[in-house]
């Protein structure tokens, strides 16, 4: 391994790597992200290796495992270059056909292509798939172009040229200036301008400073940081080194969630590779700048991602938020100035230095520049990672990228910002996705979680669900958060189980106000799911409380199932499938549900043939009395 002791040597090495790449040579890239590995990507890769060997094609065709392009739900994903053919949900059994058809005969395997559910049209290339077509994948697209474990691949696409540029063509002040001009705001939660923290830290007199990557990613269902750090670890590392140079830090930490083993492996590998090439350690690229970095595995809760808790954990103490009226940028880890940024923030730094602030600000809005990666999940046709320019509307994300709500259901709300974000209703869907706009609407950008809900979702129950999550994730140190969540959860549980009282909504509002006194942002933002649902769906709260009715027909304690005697055709389907044996039926007899025995599992409702549609789900009204035995016989 040659040390790259100058920018010229870096460029030489790059040229050498690129010259060995034949762009016309077929390449099979299989996504080796955690999602695809879970659905069998490793077996697919192995099958390709065997199959190519069988055909004697090992030297003529490259194979590689890439990072996650975000469409994990349709994984394992296979891309064939140079044609850029995209196959979805590939199984080891499909491999022989792909090699014989696509690689050898240049024909498509039709059944593995994307099919547009609306038009039935097939898409051959990734860029033709609407899910991708409507994105702006400045960061995520790199994941696809490289083998996550290969520094050569990263160098081939221009890797570490931003670092070289920063170290040799820019002063630390100029790097800072470029980041300031880009107006890059933190992608991990608060949307705090990155340059402010950097500047504060740089100006702090203490000569020992730290730069830190926050890869704790505790939001349930969110995995953008995992995809980046697993898929393109060098880009994060490069951003971090650039940041260190700008603020004058010589040591850094990468705080990765223990639950992300592949991310830990890939980032450690990247650190080793960068060290061996002289891109990390003493005298980086011969510039005289030294920087080392350690990976710290976080075994903690959601709250460990909070900056002061994370820094306490780095010091080896229990990861618990501590009062910080002096910014951690001035007094952080071991009281030294510490700049903490999110994974995606650091990935953006690399691009800003490489392509310039002007390039960066052409995406997004004035106050929220660049792109943002969201984790789109819930009741939506296409789930996955979505990178869009800031300022696009929620409607575009949900309809164009997400492909709308499946099953002909109505959209109801989208929850943004992770567990302590808020729910945004249909009427606000044209809201541009922007840090400040989301906050104004009672939600937040957070780290980019986006959960879509349809008409079957009860908004009171959703608020209850998130508070139930936060109840266990709060550290429990301060009263407003620990006790406030406890009490709000009790009220919400009462409402969803039919025990709600007049005044409960006001009580929730009062409790929510008191969490404003919480120590950290978890407590302060914990009532968002409650307040936003009260704001936009107050009538649902009132229906639960006053009429004991769940308008979404979702809260079990408030619903009942009833078979309409006029519609039941005695087909017996529900009778046979009821797990509680709660249905009284028989040949040519109108079926009747025994309300005492019914567990409200909903099976009968789902299985009653649509042409009969005899089973009704009701709420807020008395269950009609069962028709008398003697009237049950059918003509």
């Amino acid at each position: 391994m040659t040390m790259l002791s100058s920018p010229e040597k870096l460029e030489c090495a790059r040229k050498d790597i690129v010259s060995r790449i034949d762009p016309t040579k077929p390449c099979i890239s299989v996504c080796a992200g955690a999602g695809c590995l879970a659905s069998g990507a490793a077996e697919v890769i192995a099958a390709f290796k065997t199959e190519l060997e069988f055909h004697g094609l090992t030297t003529e065709v490259n194979t590689k495992g890439t990072g996650c392009p975000g469409f994990c739900e349709r994984g394992p994903i296979v891309m064939i270059y140079p044609e850029e053919i995209c196959y979805l949900r590939v199984k080891p059994e499909d491999v022989a056909e792909i090699v014989s058809h696509t690689i050898k005969e240049k024909k498509l395997v039709d059944r593995l292509l994307y099919v547009d559910p609306a038009t039935g049209e097939k898409a051959t290339r990734e860029s033709d798939i609407p899910f991708y077509k409507n994105q702006q994948r400045n960061i995520l697209s790199e994941n696809l172009r490289i083998d996550s474990k290969s520094i050569d691949d990263y160098l081939a696409i221009g890797g570490y040229s931003a670092l070289s540029k920063a170290l040799f063509q820019m002063s630390p002040e100029e790097v800072m200036g470029e980041v300031k001009k880009s107006n890059l705001r933190g992608r991990g939660g608060g949307g705090f301008p990155a340059w402010r923290k950097w500047e504060e830290s740089r100006n702090a007199p203490d000569p020992i400073k730290y730069v830190i990557v926050n890869a704790d990613e505790g939001d349930p269902g969110a995995f953008m940081d995992r995809a980046l750090i697993e898929g393109n670890p060098h880009s994060i590392l490069e951003g971090l080194i650039i940041g260190a140079y700008a603020v004058g830090a010589h040591e850094g930490f990468i705080y990765v969630r223990q639950e992300y083993p592949l991310a830990v492996i890939n980032i450690n590998l990247a650190i080793r590779q960068a060290g061996e090439r002289g891109l990390l350690g003493k005298n980086i690229l011969g510039s005289g700048f030294d920087f080392t970095v350690k990976v710290h595995m976080g075994a903690g809760a959601f709250v460990c991602g909070e900056s002061s808790a994370l820094m306490t954990a780095l010091e080896g103490r229990a990861g618990e938020p501590r009062p910080k009226y002096i910014h951690t940028a001035v007094k952080g880890v071991w009281d030294h100035p510490s700049v903490l940024n999110n994974v995606e923030t650091w990935a953006n730094v690399t691009q800003i230095i490489s392509k310039g602030a002007d390039w960066f600000t052409q995406f997004g809005t004035k106050g929220s520049t660049g792109t943002k990666i969201f984790s789109l999940v819930g009741k939506i046709t296409n789930t996955g990672l979505v990178e869009v320019p800031m300022g696009v509307t929620l409607r575009d994300i949900i309809e164009k990228v997400g492909g709308g709500i499946p099953g002909g259901k109505q959209f109801k709300a989208v929850q943004t910002g992770g567990p302590s974000g808020g729910c945004i209703p249909e009427a606000q869907l044209d809201l541009p996705v922007d840090f400040d706009e989301l906050t104004k609407a009672g939600s937040m950008m957070g780290s980019g979680g986006m959960i879509v809900m349809d008409e079957d979702t009860c908004m009171v129950d959703i608020a209850r669900y998130f508070l139930d999550f936060l109840k266990d994730e709060s550290c429990g140190k301060c009263t407003p958060c620990r006790e406030g969540i406890r009490q709000m959860l009790k009220v919400l549980t009462n409402i969803t189980t039919g025990k709600g009282k007049e005044g409960d909504v006001e009580l929730l509002e009062e409790l929510a106000e008191s969490t404003g006194a919480a120590l950290c942002a978890l407590g302060k933002s914990a009532p968002n799911p409650v307040l936003s649902t009260i704001r936009y769906f107050r009538e649902e709260y009132e229906a639960h409380i006053r009429q004991k009715k769940c308008p979404a027909l979702s809260c079990k304690e408030l619903i009942a199932f009833h078979i309409d005697p006029d519609k039941c055709k005695a087909c017996g389907t529900c009778f046979r499938q009821c797990p509680a044996e709660a249905i009284d039926g028989g040949k040519k007899r109108i079926h009747v549900i025994d309300q005492e025995k019914c567990t409200k599992c909903g099976t009968c409702f789902d299985v009653c043939p649509p042409r009969f549609g005899a089973v009704r789900k009701i709420s807020g009204e008395p269950v009609p009395a069962p028709i008398p035995e003697e009237q049950r016989a059918m003509a």
Partner: protein, 216 residues
């Protein structure tokens, strides 16, 4: 030390650098309630009863008076409507745990808090952390600590340490605002081997020197 001018409840206050809002308020006779604050212990900021409203660049903000450092031209309100409302709720939440605690009752009177607003909780502890921090920071014994998190967080004596240390110390007991810590210890005591039991040797033949399993 440089002088810092600020305003608390309309009064002009001259404080010195390093003071908290709580300290500065005291100099002009304004009392801010505290529960988890202790002069000898590290800043903690757990109970939030000392919450006050400050105005930073025109923006109102809620901060913990026992920690927030004085700043030039800071405007502090220790008894705004919002602050009083929050303190009332916090007290009611704590009273669900420790309805008979005298300190809480006195504050409840001041803020109109209803002792029975919330359903009573089985745990008496209001999580001020005084016992835990006193033992860790002053006695350096770590005989009592918090376990679990969120709503499940509770104090717990560490039997191995408590059996050696607490018997002759008990210094944290009077710190507890709920005066129930002692009871908790007594309860735990049944599980904690007593110190004199330690010297009596264990009947086993290994080299454990009789330190374990001899509490009975």
């Amino acid at each position: 030390m440089s002088e810092i001018h600020l305003q608390i409840d309309g009064k002009e206050v001259v404080a010195s650098e390093g003071m908290t809002i709580l300290d500065a308020a005291k100099t002009v006779g304004i009392a801010i309630p505290t529960l988890c604050h202790h002069e000898k212990l590290e800043p903690y900021g757990g109970c939030r009863i000392c919450t006050v409203e400050v105005e930073v660049r025109g923006w109102p903000k809620l901060v913990a008076g026992c920690i927030y450092p004085v700043e030039k031209d800071l405007v502090v309100r220790t008894r705004s409507e919002k602050v009083d409302k929050i303190r009332k709720v916090l007290l009611e939440e704590m009273l669900a745990h420790a309805p008979d605690a005298e300190e809480l009752q006195a504050l409840a009177k001041e803020y109109g808090a209803d002792r029975d607003r919330f359903e009573k909780e089985p745990s008496f502890c209001i999580h001020c952390g005084l016992c835990v921090r006193y033992c860790a920071e002053i006695k350096k014994k770590h005989a009592v600590g918090f376990v679990d998190r969120g709503s499940n967080r509770e104090i717990s004596f560490i039997p191995e340490i408590a059996s050696k240390e607490c018997w002759d110390c008990k210094e944290c007991f009077p710190l507890c605002p709920t005066s129930a810590l002692q009871a908790a210890y007594v309860l735990a005591e049944s599980l904690i081997p007593q110190p004199d039991a330690e010297v009596s040797s264990c009947s086993c033949s290994c080299s454990c020197s009789g330190k374990s399993g001899t509490g009975e």
